[in-house]
Subunit: 273 residues, 4 copies
Amino acid sequence: MTESNRPPTGWRHRVHEIIFEADTPLGKAFDVGLILLILLSTLTVMLESVQTISASYGTVLRAAEWGFTIVFTVEYFLRLTSVTRPAKYAGSFFGVVDLVAIVPTYLSLIIPGGQALLAVRALRLLRIFRVLKLAHHLEGARVLWRALRASRYKITVFLATIITLVTILGSLIYLVEGAEHGFTSIPLSMYWAIVTLTTVGYGDIAPQTVWGQALASVIMIIGYAIIAVPTGIITVELSRVSREPISTQACPHCSAEGHDPDAVHCKLCGGTL
Amino acid sequence: MTESNRPPTGWRHRVHEIIFEADTPLGKAFDVGLILLILLSTLTVMLESVQTISASYGTVLRAAEWGFTIVFTVEYFLRLTSVTRPAKYAGSFFGVVDLVAIVPTYLSLIIPGGQALLAVRALRLLRIFRVLKLAHHLEGARVLWRALRASRYKITVFLATIITLVTILGSLIYLVEGAEHGFTSIPLSMYWAIVTLTTVGYGDIAPQTVWGQALASVIMIIGYAIIAVPTGIITVELSRVSREPISTQACPHCSAEGHDPDAVHCKLCGGTL
Amino acid sequence: MTESNRPPTGWRHRVHEIIFEADTPLGKAFDVGLILLILLSTLTVMLESVQTISASYGTVLRAAEWGFTIVFTVEYFLRLTSVTRPAKYAGSFFGVVDLVAIVPTYLSLIIPGGQALLAVRALRLLRIFRVLKLAHHLEGARVLWRALRASRYKITVFLATIITLVTILGSLIYLVEGAEHGFTSIPLSMYWAIVTLTTVGYGDIAPQTVWGQALASVIMIIGYAIIAVPTGIITVELSRVSREPISTQACPHCSAEGHDPDAVHCKLCGGTL
Amino acid sequence: MTESNRPPTGWRHRVHEIIFEADTPLGKAFDVGLILLILLSTLTVMLESVQTISASYGTVLRAAEWGFTIVFTVEYFLRLTSVTRPAKYAGSFFGVVDLVAIVPTYLSLIIPGGQALLAVRALRLLRIFRVLKLAHHLEGARVLWRALRASRYKITVFLATIITLVTILGSLIYLVEGAEHGFTSIPLSMYWAIVTLTTVGYGDIAPQTVWGQALASVIMIIGYAIIAVPTGIITVELSRVSREPISTQACPHCSAEGHDPDAVHCKLCGGTL
């Protein structure tokens, strides 16, 4: 173990325990406080974008924003110093999210009119997922994740079919309706095909000729029916993952895995588990 | 058993039997009558809100309303007097609903223009659920309820993901489209993101730039695909709950349960089932 | 067996064979011809309602309509005479549908301006379901029907919950938005709540205040999530029905049904199947 | 084996290996290149339909289009010459798609204003499906396909019910709302019924009378509920197909089936499988 990889000791160790773990009372209090701060700061970002509120309470919101940014900046540096490999943390998904949560406020000082950039701060909400370490929810997330992973090939095939369908149906409706009924280009017609196939149906563009409406009817019924496919895929995988032996106990004699959680004898060699 | 906890006797006992139970002919008649009254009073509330009807039949509806309120008030006090612990009933879910069903009408006497409050009376409809004691429906409700309860952690994870997704996608579309295309604030943009993700698609706000429509397409396809997740969760849990009572045969030797329906030997002790 | 219940003989028997059965070549030809006639007559009804077509080809369509009506009238009387109990047929579901298919055209002679009544003739399409006797499709329909029947209590609970939800949410949005934003009455607000909960989202009425949009967001997410419930119910029941013994073999000794597909002896009387 | 059926040899054999197979490095490179070309050519078709882009970069896009067409033409003839039976390839699904991908560009030389025909070239995207020979995705597609095939009778029944429902509900709303509220004909009313039943809900036509809205509410709830049916069908079939490859090995001692694929001992009699 090299010098730089040794786990931090002393105050850095205590900081690590508070920030990254939730076993101690102080660690738990830190987590709850952080969740509150993240929610409040996200709320601030939202309210700031509402013109009537921004006009009346602009100064208060700006002040709060700087308060949150400074707290998050301190937290970011504490995280950097308390982990064994700061570079690895900075490059990780949550390291980047942590940085993105504070940088826009500082940038707004340098770039005038960088208001738009501030909306990026809504990404802060993602940080809440790291704090949520509650066992039950993690188990739920794990099962969902494994089911999604297991069905990724089927979902890829499904999405490829959807995209092809959208391209061809969008081109067809462009042919049938044309620019005079609002279908001014193939990309726009594809956008309409997605709006229709997913049963969203804004109605900003709608077919007006008989053939266009007939084609739209076909697209709608297709969209209505094939929603069944991803649902079926996910259900089957979720069902399989849920039924999977949670017991990862291996047979001590032949090392076989996959026994029922309540099995006493190995189903391959007959030895006692 | 203290004095106050003793079950009511005499006429209070008979009232309890009629109001709270459905075994006797009188109890059944009371239930049917109550359901009719609840439906009629809900209909009265609805019709009263329609201006053309309210203008012509206002007096009749008002009279009917007072009639229902007086009957429900009498019923409320009968319930209070016939139960063992009146305070517990008054504080229970249905106790509060029963009170909310009668209070607004009386309040409308005191507070002028308390018309709005009257719409609260639609909550009366909730009372119908207590009256429905039919066995088959209760069984159906029980299975649904257990499946929902069993999947609560997965559904929490799913909802948290949806809310985070909506916040981030709403902020993104606010950046991309901006106030000039109707996306005047982040909360409004989040509202639009919910309208789009859930495939409702009002069309009151719709993206108009190419990038906005591209982002909207992604949101729609996400919304179209992830509906599969809650469906999968509920289906798997419903399937498990429905299968639960399957073969409750216990091993006669070691009393272990949970054998496959076609098992011949106990998987724990090997004895013949 | 009384006189009137005896099965028809002679030409009435032959007519019955052609009209009601599909085993003979003539019976099959009759079915195919009838399906074509039903489809054509439904198409005629549709085209007649299109003003531009009705203006140009009105006479042709009217003539075709009378042709279809006369053929269907002859068929109706042939059915009446060839069945054992004409009254029972006339009162059955398909007997009524057959009558409804021909009556409006005759009525249009008597009642001037009974144009609206003619749209009722679209019910003719229902007749096609009787003709479809293809084994595979019948099997598919049978499985669907049994799954729907088996889940009727759970679906009733689900629908009751939806209706209560719609009443309460409709009243709430009426309180929050009010007549000045288009929510002019509780029934209309309930209509909006249904449009939103089922994710249809016309957009003819849409919330405009912040609280209205917040409430709408909750309704949308509820609607998006609880669609999972009926889906789960049907899936579980379909899965159970599909696994059920398809064997419809009845015991030759005691006529009992419901034996396992691999059963050799009747489970009730012990006789060999 | 006749002369014409002998597999090509020499350079024709090598061309076949490159074009139709993906085992050799050259074959893989050809596939990747072809996918890129197809995507680029589809993009060109799309961009050409956007007026602002077409005005500025028309010449470049036209040139690219001719480039793609020439490459695809060469590829088409190489495929024709390298397969054993050219006629069979030319008549196959992908043979026709390959031809449709190149013909419109040549036709645009002869037929002036054949611009519309060019949108047909979007069908080129279909060709990508032939190139995708990745094992995992093929397996996913195979499972989806078998599930869809297995449920075709139930889906036919479902679609027939939907179409009948749409015809009858469309005629009803035409009766109830009539031409003065936008429901100008039965076909248009059926289009509206599809828009509503599939929960798309454009809002270009919406019921305005109380009875129309009541009928619409019923259609929406039906549409919301019966989406469960195709989902259930596909889920059950997908689940069955996914479970299929499970070892159909029967126990040689007691003939019991249904063992886990990795089981060594029969779970009923204990004998070695």
